[in-house]
């Protein structure tokens, strides 16, 4: 008898937790009771509710257009991905789509496996288009091809899928121009010559590898002959590992002048290490202004760094998805379309044989403008 009561209570609390998870983020109190049901609901409560109601509202809101549009980010718990999602959602709403037509998914971890699971779920929901910030260039190909065979429009943004898996790619900034910009920063901070190192994320991250390759290419030019790239270290976008790798770089190369970290976690970890040690090594790379505000300054560890606006990446991802679904574009090079208030964009050839749309050049965060940007993202 007692057991029965207990199991009923457990079941009730489980349902309670699920409702709380779907309904509103503020009702966290119920969640700890139900052990294994809660985790799935941890992110963005609206996304759980969306697929269930998807069928009905989609037919009613004829004004804005039909279909459901999904965004799959790299992983949960990273402010950068949140901003990207916010931009996507904002642009979709600006085009008149309703909440139930927008699905945003943050996988549990930054792996291809997690994204494959997520994409399979989206295929089952029969969405119209999926925009993916790929965790692995090639591993997602089978699942993307399966989605494409069912008429789902697949694009990548931020981090690219391989050319065969995507219709087009929303590139935050051209790979070449990022390589050029970062190399110029490295050269400037090193004073023209000397040793420098790269602190990257994982060794498989497609965007990281493309930028590193672009930097190496730029470095072959005569202007950069005095610079010596001593090591490319991988911090796996884990804080502790990035710190260990940074400290190892400082120990192994006493003459190091500059560290370039083209990843938001890496640059922050490196900044902390350099500041703690009072090191003379300078830091630049790609970082989130809010996280780096403490370290950016003329005499500080990071004189300046770059990033693009992740909100714009998300926005353009939304406009591109809609244009593809509406048949305005097919993803071939040379096509043009208008992305709402962002203006006109042209699809161009990408270096990997596919096509891409470039959002704009990277933006420099300097001691002068960091205070206004740190509260934005």
């Amino acid at each position: 008898m007692k057991k029965k009561v207990l199991s009923v209570l457990l079941a009730v609390s489980m349902i309670g937790a699920m409702l709380a998870g779907c309904g509103s983020a503020s009702e966290q109190a119920a969640a700890p009771v139900a052990e294994e049901t809660a985790p799935a609901k941890e992110e963005a409560p609206a996304e759980e509710a969306a697929p269930a109601e998807e069928a009905a509202p989609a037919e009613e809101s004829g004004a804005a257009g039909e279909g459901t549009f999904a965004l799959v980010t790299k992983s949960a718990g990273n402010p950068y991905n949140e901003r990207e999602a916010a931009g996507f959602e904002e642009a979709m709403k600006a085009m008149g789509y309703s909440d139930s037509q927008i699905i945003i998914r943050h996988p549990e971890s930054a792996t291809a496996d997690a994204q494959i699971t997520t994409i399979n779920e989206l295929i089952a929901q029969n969405v119209s288009a999926i925009a993916i910030a790929a965790n692995d260039q090639d591993a997602l190909q089978p699942v993307c091809e399966q989605a494409a065979s069912q008429g789902i429009k697949i694009i990548s943004l931020d981090s690219t899928l391989n050319a065969a898996s995507r219709l087009t790619h929303v590139n935050q900034a051209g790979t070449q121009i990022i390589g050029q910009t970062l190399m110029d920063a490295v050269k400037d901070l090193a004073g023209g010559e000397g040793q420098w190192a790269i602190l990257s994320a994982t060794s498989q991250a497609s965007n990281q590898n493309a930028w590193i390759a672009a930097m190496k290419e730029v470095m072959e030019g005569e202007d950069y002959a005095g610079l010596e790239l001593v090591e490319v270290a991988y911090g796996d976008d884990e804080y502790q590992k990035s710190v260990d790798q940074t400290q190892a770089l400082l120990t192994n190369y006493p003459d190091l002048k500059v560290i370039c970290a083209p990843t938001t976690v890496g640059i922050m970890a490196a900044a902390g290490v350099l500041q703690d040690k009072g090191s003379a090594v300078k830091l630049t790379g790609l970082g989130l202004p809010s996280e780096m505000a403490d370290y950016i300054g003329t005499d500080n560890v990071c004189p300046y760094m770059y990033l693009w606006n992740p909100i714009d990446v998300g926005r353009l991802g939304a406009y591109t998805s809609v244009a593809l679904v509406n048949g305005d574009i097919t993803g071939a090079a040379g096509e043009t379309f208008t992305a709402g208030e962002m203006g006109g964009y042209e699809i161009v050839e990408a270096s990997d044989g596919g096509t891409e749309i470039i959002v704009g050049p990277p933006f420099a965060f300097t001691p002068d403008n960091i205070d206004e940007w740190k509260s934005v993202y």
């Binding site: 966290q28 969640a31 941890e42 992983s75 804080y239 120990t251 922050m268 703690d276 996280e291």
Partner: protein, 333 residues
Amino acid sequence: MEKKKFDWKKITGSREMSLVIVLIVLCLFVQIRNSSFLTSETLEDMFRNYAVIFILALGMMCVLLTGGIDISIGSTLAFSGMAAGLVMRDYMIPTPVSFLLSMAIGAGLGLVVGMIITKGKVPPIVCTLGFMNIYRGLTYLIAKSQWVAAYQFTDSFKNFALTKYLGFGLVNNMIAVTIYCYIIFFVVMKWTTIGRRVYAVGSNVEAAAVSGINIGHVKIGVYTLMGFLCGLGGALWTSLYKSAQGDMATGIEMDVIAACVVGGVSLTGGRGSVVGVFLGSLTIAIIGKALPLIGVSQFWQSAIKGLIILVAVILNVLAQRTMDKNNLRRREM
């Protein structure tokens, strides 16, 4: 003369000694490859960066001693560190308050885990697997998937990990906290009834129950303690890295459990020592700190890490077996 010889044998045959030898070999090897390893600066960095693992390993040892396991520690650490970080961001509380808050939250989370394991009769690995996800999810929820950034912490909090006032000016605060924890645990586990009860529960539950130990209380106690240390770890972590992230300390449970196992703590309970845990944690710390210094590719580093752990555990087991055999032989005579 007789006596001296006996002592020598006892020392070389002990489990701790086999680990010390592995560590010495490891350190020498790294030192040959890179002479900057055994310098005070590198070693201080190492103890500072791995203070959290050292401290968590103590709590994990107690959990393992009772025959349990706790894989929710990374999430507990993240939740308490994040919660304290958010309060600091919004209300600029003093550093000690932030630490106490984090520890209190951690202890609370640990208490919930302990209650469910004990009262609900749920296997520890299943229960903590659930809570690993629950607490991680709640961490993202309370933080709204944001990070607490360096400029949002008070200076005194950020300087905690850089200054030495708790270590009487000799050692860094992070290291001082670690040392205090180890002294307290060493004394409590060896010479107090509380410590002996934990061992008793893990060695033989029935015997412990018959002797009047409240098994439930001991178990709830160790999980609460584990949570408390996670709370402490959360505060130390955020202070050290000057940032609270939702995904911080993901996977740390594996390093902590590895530290315990390498240090000779039995996964079936009842066996393990504070000294062993210290050496086990030291092994993990040296591996993490030294491998980037020896100049091999990172893919090799992961493989080497696994290999060293395996070798350390095998040597440990062999030493234990020799010790048991010797004990048995002595009894026969």
